[in-house]
Structure formats: structure tokens, C-alpha cells
Amino acid sequence: MARIGVFVCWCGSNIAGTVDVKRVAEEAAKIPGVVEAVDYKYMCSDPGQNTLRKMIKDKNLTGVVLAACSPHMHENTFRKAAVKEGLNPYFIEIANIREQVSWVHEDKEKATAKAIDLLKMMVEKVKRNKPIEDVRVPLTKKALVVGGGISGIQAALDIANGGVEVILVEKEPSIGGKMIQLDETFPTLDCSSCIMTPKMVEVYQHPNIKLYTYSELEDVSGYIGNFNVKIKKKARSIVEKDCTGCGDCWNACPMHKNVKSEFNVNLSERTAIYVPFPQAVPLIPVIDRSVCLHYKKGGKCQKCYDACGPKCIDFDLQDEIIEEKVGAIVAATGYDLMENSLYGEYGYGQFKDVISGLQFERLLSASGPTEGVVKRPSDGKTPETIVFIQCVGSRDPEKGVPYCSKVCCMYTAKHAKLFAHKVHGSQSYVFYIDIRATSKGYEEFVRSTMENDGAIYLRGRVSKIYEDNGKLIVKGADTLSGNQVEIAADMVVLATGVIPKKGSDKIAQMLGISYDKYGFYTESHPKLRPAESSTAGIYLAGMAQGPRDIPESVVSGSAAASKILGLFSKSEYEVEGTIASVNKTTCVGCFYCKRVCAYSAISKEEVKDRNGNVLKVVANVNSGLCAGCGACVNACFSKSIDLKGYLDEQIFAEIKSLAV
């Protein structure tokens, strides 16, 4: 027999003023299974809790119902009290007779009747409660970071400095991401490589960080605390441990004319064996097999090999698959820029002096193809007038994307400012739709570009660019004065929109995390859980989540790291026990449940006999992943899956108790 205790709380006059608490207690006492029902002035007070504990002990209760305030208020208070008397916390149920009765109704008779109903429902529910144990999952205390841009680097360093081992996987030959390509960075104009290079070196030297560059994620399985990952380490054709980074090889390489440098965004050429940039980390070259003569012409060339002192070039090296077990993963795969060639009207690709913002960064950079002297690509002359066009591709649902790329207003202001500093007497014109400069110091930065550096801002878009006598004729509008304007420019810089890194959708699918229609990873909650993905144990950082600048990328990297350090600070991962469980005897293996689960918590499990023969395949709920939403329960036609704490039986009993 169930032994249920009932407490009807007055909440001073908050409840007792509208509900006849004595009568509620009297009626409760009549419900079968209720051994005692009392009313009490303030249940949440210490004496109130003691009353509760005393009755649990004295009457040897198997369940308790409190008719009181909303469970969101004090459910935990009462559960804790119950646990102290050895009662499973899920044997406490609350009938909400304050927020749902006394505070919203006036008629005492009707309010009392409703309070009795709510109480009866909870008594019937608690009678059918099963003890629920919170779930504990073991944790492999090692993290994987995918992507070695500033956000991934920050995450890796923070985790490693927290004393946890990190594996950092970067698909390019060097870490650094886009930030290492930038010149000076807004709003303080620190030199990007000056602040980035030390961090890259720190990653390389950190005892807790294992770095895999020129590597990609191949496969991920498992769940929070227990992921198995396969990493493909692409063949560099170099025996890394022997390479000194001396550069003799790339200086010897005859392929130095036609291969465009990715790092300099096609503004210069590189060799077939190359490091992307002089401060690359690691400073180990890679042979681009798609252009190397050795591979293309059947081993004819081996000039690099000949030049290499330590003879660390090995043309026969193969891709390697590395397996690792980690407890948590950070996805920080960053971004790409849109194709400017979408805009025929701007002549990108057709007019040499129409370039992208990232190309302009390379022109400004002291380590860039022009050693920081602004020269136009067509004839190497110093431009005097540059027109900058913002929102190219962004905020353009017709040709590009509807969203704002967030960084281009700021970097355009930066470009105009740096151009003014570098070329005296020059003039910038910036076409914009709105200026978005919302972080600390940003608005002031943009204003100073206008007011101190003389950039002229025109609110309007450019319609078309023509070439005329070595000048680019930019036809735009100034909507503020209502004029069509035409400017003869020496160079045009397009602030190209930001899109997720190519292939990030594949990474998302591998990790089982969701992404929006553009391919940006979606956070578990856009405001309250911005560092978490929808899948437990997988965290997000940087531009991979959506447009953001360096400070925000760093913040998000640190946020992901702190989540992981928090997770790893406990010996096991604990989740509330109100999760789904499968009755494996009745399960028919249709996996309708798997289809509706947004958390990828359901997997297939083979039921085997003693000899190891597979008898059938059934559903298995991964307690580390299940969030307890209950969607799977309805999907199951054989009634083989149920949700602890909200069992079918309990809900039917609640409904039944209301029979009229």
C-alpha cells in the first residue's frame, strides 16, 4: 500500500485567504493511500520542512504531495528535505494551488474545489512514481578542438592551461586562420601577427596540446565524456620531426610562377613545396601534390629533395588515420568569404583593381606581396582615390545572403583609416547602407575615420563600375542628399560577405550538431547557452557560429573552454534522471523514436544470446544525451519507450483522477 502524506500550505493568507485549506486537507485525508493530511502556515519555512521530515520518518511515507506554490518555486527545497529522510526525491510532487488557484481565482468555493482536484491528481501521480536515479556518465578528460583560428587557439590554450590535454586539428598546413592574414586590427590597430604569432607558438610548445595540422576530422562516434574520433593526417611529404624549416627546399622548387598563394589571396605566387607564410606554425613545408612536378610528371623532379640537408622529404608518405578518445569537442571551423564574382556589375575578376577586403589586408600588410606599400594590382601604381563598397553579398537576399556580416563595417573603416595613414593626400569614399559599429570603442573608431582621416561616407549602394582610361568609374548614390554620384577611383575594395567555412556542414553532421540554413552552427540557446551546441559535450566557438570579430571569437573560445573545464571538474557527468528508457522485450526495432529525437540520444543496440548471436536490434537511450523531452514516447507504436517522471501510466492516472 502506498503511504502518502499530504501537506496543504497556507502561504500565510496567500493561499488560505482564497482556499479553504482545512477542507482541502480533510478531503485529502479521504483519498485512498493517504495516511495523513495536514495544513500548515508556511511549508517552506524551517519548521515547515521539519514537519515534512518528521512525518516522512514517523509515518514511513512512500510519497508526499504538497499543495502549495508553483513547483518552480520550492520543489527543490522539499526534495532536498525528503532526501535527508532517505526518500527518493522524485517521490515529492507539488499541487500548485497558489499560482494556479488562490492568486487567480476569487470564488472561495470554486477555488477550493479546484485545489482539491489538483491535489488529487498529484496524489494519483505520486502513487505511481518509480524511484529515479540521476544518471552518471564517466568522463574522458581530454578535449578535441577542430579549427586552429583565433577562436580554436583560444579554446585550446584555455583548456590546456586548465591542466587538461587538448588535441587541436587544423586542416591547413599552419594554424592561425584568417586572423594571421590581417594587417592591423580594429579598433585598437594592433598588428595582427604581432599578437597572433606568440599565441600560435604557445600552442605549438604547450605540453598539454597535441597539434595536428594539415589534418581533418574523419569520423566521430560516442557521446559526452566518451567520444571516439578519427583524424586523417594528410601526407605532407615531409618527415616532420627531421625538418628544420630552413627553406632550402622551397627556394629550390621550380614551380614558382603559376601557383597562386592562398595566404596572399591570389595576389602573389607560391612554390609547390611551401609554407603558407613565414611565421607558419609549425614551420614545416608541405608539398602540394596537385601541382608538384614529381607527382605530375612521374618522379622527374626532386630538386627539393636534393636541396634538403636533413633529407626529410619523403615523396612516398601516405595519409595516416589517428584515433583518439576525448570527452568533449569544440567546433571552431571559422569562415570563408563569398564569391565576389557573383557581382558582374562590380567587375571583380574582370577589373584587376577591384579587389576584396581580405586582399586589401594583404596589400596593407608588411608581410604581404607589396611589403605593406599600397599598390594597385594592375600597374603597381599607388592609388590616390579608393572607393570602398560595403555589404557586398551581405544583406542581399537576391544575390547573396540576407544577414549582416558584422565585421565589414569595421574593417572598411579600418581600411580607409590605414590607407589615409599610408598614402598622404589620398581620398577614400565609402558606400554603406548602415554602419554597424556597436562594440566598445567601435563607433568612435568609425567616427575618427570620417572626422580625422577624411574618409567620405556615402549612404547608398553602388550600382555599377565601369573602366575608363585606367580609372574605375563608380556609379553610386548618396541617398541622404538624394543625388546620383559618380566617382573616378583608382581602386575599388569590396567588403565581401562572410559565410561558413566550406565543409562545415559535413563537420556538423559528423558531430551530430545542428546548423542553420546558411551552415552556421546553432547554439543550444541563442542567449542563455551560446557556447553549447544542441548535443551534450560539443561546444562552439568563433565565426563558425555566425559573423563575429576577433574579441568575440576569443570570448567564445574561452567560453567553450570554461564549459569544458567545468564539465571535467567533476569525476562524472550527472544528468537528471527524468529521461527516456526502452523496454527491450517489447521493442520491435522500428526506430521511429530515433527519427524524432533531436538529441541523437537513441542508438541501435543488438540483443545477443549467450553465444553471441544477434537475436534482435532494439532501441537504446544514451543517458548522456537524452534531454528528457519525451518526443520519442509518442513516436513508439508498441509502447516500448517511456519517460521517467512522466510515465504514461502517471499521466493517465492524473486524467482519471479528474473523472466527473
Binding site: 572626422e451 577624411g454 549612404r459 548618396d478 542628399s481 543625388n483 554620384v485 559618380e486
Partner: protein, 182 residues
Amino acid sequence: MKTVINEQERRNFASEVESKLHDKLAKCYQCGKCSAGCPVNFEMDYTPNQIIKMTELGMADRVLNSKTIWLCVSCNTCSTRCPKGFEVAGIMDVLREVAAKRGIESKTEKEVQTFHEVFLDNVKSNGRIFELELVGKYKLKTKHLFRDMFLAPKMIEKGKLKMHSDKVSNINQIAKIFKDFE
């Protein structure tokens, strides 16, 4: 309207205005608060903020021939409320002055321009304003003989319009000021 921006002309005009104004055109947000509060905006061809932008873009012809610069009544509502403390009323003064110096005659707001000229002539010759003469000369110049005239008899009756002038005695000094600063 189409404007081809000539960088040199743009700079010349913008910096001429800026130096007279002792203020930077680039300061303006183009927020339009000046235009929003301007009491005579409804009669203007360009709003005050448009005048500022067009000056920055070097559209001298359009700005100096605008109605706006003559319609502005120098009430300073704009400058007072401008979030950037930009001298909006001041730029109207500067543009009127530049227009006058360049000998540009307003096609539509000639009366305003004439009134100011007649007024200054009056000051130049008397040192003070002789109202009857001022009104008379203005009416003659603008040929608006009958406008406002119905007020005159009653004003004379009330003693508001004096029949003689009160000249400054050291009128030479006034003449010198005009000479030195014209």
C-alpha cells in the same frame, strides 16, 4: 540628380567652407535632427542636413543656388539641438556669404538677399537703422510696393515709424569698419 565628383573641386569647396566655419563637415551624422526641427524646412529645396552633405561632396553650384540658404532664419534651433554640436546655422551664414562674394544672385529668394543688402547699406550710411528709409528702399528694389504697405499708416499713427534718422556722429569710423571688413 547626377553629380560627377571632381576630387579637386570637392576639396576646394569643402575646405573653403570648413575654414570659414571653423568646423568639420565630417562631424555631421546626417541624423537629420537639424532638419526635423527647422521651422522653415517646409519651404526649403534641400534640408539642412542635405546642404551639409552636398557641401562635403563639393556640390557648390547646387548649394549656393539653393533656396535653403536664404530661407534660413538663423533661429539656431538646428545647432542647439545637434548631437554633434555642428554649426548648422553657421554653415548657412557661410554659404550666404560665399554666394554673395561669388556674385550669385538667388533666383527664387532674391527678396531675402536684397533685404540684407539694403539693411547693410542703411547701416553703412547712417550707422543706425532708419526704418522708413530701409522699408522704402527695399520696396523700391523688390518692386513689392503694395505688399505690407497697409501696415504703414497705422504704424505711423502709433508712432512706430519715425520721420527722421538718428545718425551716428562718428560716421567715418563706421565707413572704415565697412571698408576694413568688406
